[in-house]
């Protein structure tokens, strides 16, 4: 998956600085580069397609209006994901859908994905989407950032506002839960 592992262009920072100066072309280039990843990430959190579109739109509105607030110490990708994550959480709160204790979910039983005999790749992808959607919001966000969007642990912990240790915990428990859910899906499919 090239899209998830590719490093953002070194020109991102220059583009944001140009947007701060009112350059519409620079803004549109940033939309083309980052909107798919931002929208994909937001969908994993808010889960509702209409909400995901609203939050994505609000994220890029912030980019247009507040580009001057960008500090080049952070990567543009990290900055945009952080804005998107905060807006997505606000949206979930407004909907009353933030888990009271997002990390207090029960530990799933260890399972092997090899138990899952998912014949078609499409089926496997759909199973993963469904499994991700069933995870607590923070686990889902951590897994999406690191394993789907290709952010490093340090970048993902910055986006989510958690320590690197907390991020590792979210990732480990999230992957464990995914294994269990995928295994259950595979057993159903058999």
């Amino acid at each position: 998956m090239d899209w998830e592992r590719s490093e953002p262009s070194a020109g991102d920072t220059q583009l944001v600085l140009a947007v701060a100066g009112g350059d519409q072309g620079a803004y549109q280039e940033l939309v083309r580069r980052h909107a798919p990843r931002i929208h994909h990430f937001v969908r994993k959190i808010v889960r509702d397609p209409a909400d995901a579109e609203d939050v994505t739109q609000e994220t890029f509105l912030r980019l247009w209006l507040r580009a001057a607030e960008y500090q080049p110490t952070a990567r543009v990708t990290t900055w945009l994901f952080r804005i998107a994550h905060n807006l997505a959480i606000d949206r979930l709160r407004a909907r009353g859908r933030v888990e009271a204790l997002p990390d207090a979910d029960a530990e799933p039983a260890p399972a092997s994905v090899s138990q899952t005999v998912l014949v078609h790749r499409k089926q496997r992808a759909e199973a993963l989407e469904a499994a991700l959607a069933g995870l607590p919001e923070r686990q889902s966000a951590a897994l999406t950032l690191v394993h789907l969007q290709g952010l490093s642990g340090a970048e993902a912990s910055e986006v989510l506002g958690v320590s690197p240790e907390a991020l590792e915990s979210l990732l480990a428990r999230g992957r464990r839960a995914l294994r269990a859910r995928l295994a259950a899906f595979g057993e159903k499919a058999e």
């Binding site: 998956m1 090239d2 899209w3 009112g22 519409q24 803004y27 549109q28 939309v31 909107a35 798919p36 990843r37 929208h39 994909h40 579109e53 994505t56 739109q57 890029f60 509105l61 247009w64 209006l65 001057a68 092997s112 994905v113 090899s114 790749r121 496997r124 992808a125 199973a127 993963l128 989407e129 690191v146 394993h147 789907l148 490093s152 642990g153 340090a154 690197p164 991020l167 590792e168 915990s169 990732l171 480990a172 992957r175 464990r176 995914l178 294994r179 995928l182």
Partner: protein, 143 residues
């Protein structure tokens, strides 16, 4: 960094970050590779995690609905940004006042004393200052 790593830490990192050591925290990669070289059986840990990594990799590239992309691209046309003039707001009035003062000084420098004479006998600059301050007695004292 070449700190040593325990097997449990290796397993935990594999569980969190998956089978690709290059995706693990940079500071721990060297120690992880050294441990793997010493303990080849840990390859099985990575192989186990690789199964889940493969599922992640099967997800297709994300796409933005075209209607959403159009709305995103149109934001600059629909949303007028507040002008960034706060930082400069003080500048233009200050320049105006400074220019007016400079012009006044220049004109003043071009005039000789006779040009200021109004024929009322007040030619003394101090007297003009007193008159400007409202002291009408200056006029009475004028010859």
């Amino acid at each position: 960094m070449s700190r040593s790593m325990t097997e449990s830490r290796f397993r935990y990192l594999a569980e969190a970050y998956g089978s690709h050591i290059e995706r693990w925290p940079e500071a721990e990669r060297t120690a992880a590779r050294a441990l793997l070289a010493d303990r080849p059986e840990l390859e099985r840990v990575l192989a186990s995690e690789a199964e889940l990594d493969a599922v992640f990799e099967e997800l297709g590239a994300p796409e933005v609905p075209s209607s959403l992309e159009r709305r995103l691209l149109d934001i600059p046309k629909r949303v007028v940004r507040p002008r960034r003039e706060r930082a400069w707001a003080w500048f233009f009035p200050a320049v105006g006042w400074a220019a007016a003062a400079a012009v006044g000084l220049w004109i003043g420098g071009q005039l000789d004393g006779s040009a200021l004479s109004t024929g009322n006998g007040i030619d003394d600059s101090e007297a003009w200052v007193e008159l400007a301050a409202g002291d009408l007695a200056v006029l009475e004292e004028a010859p």
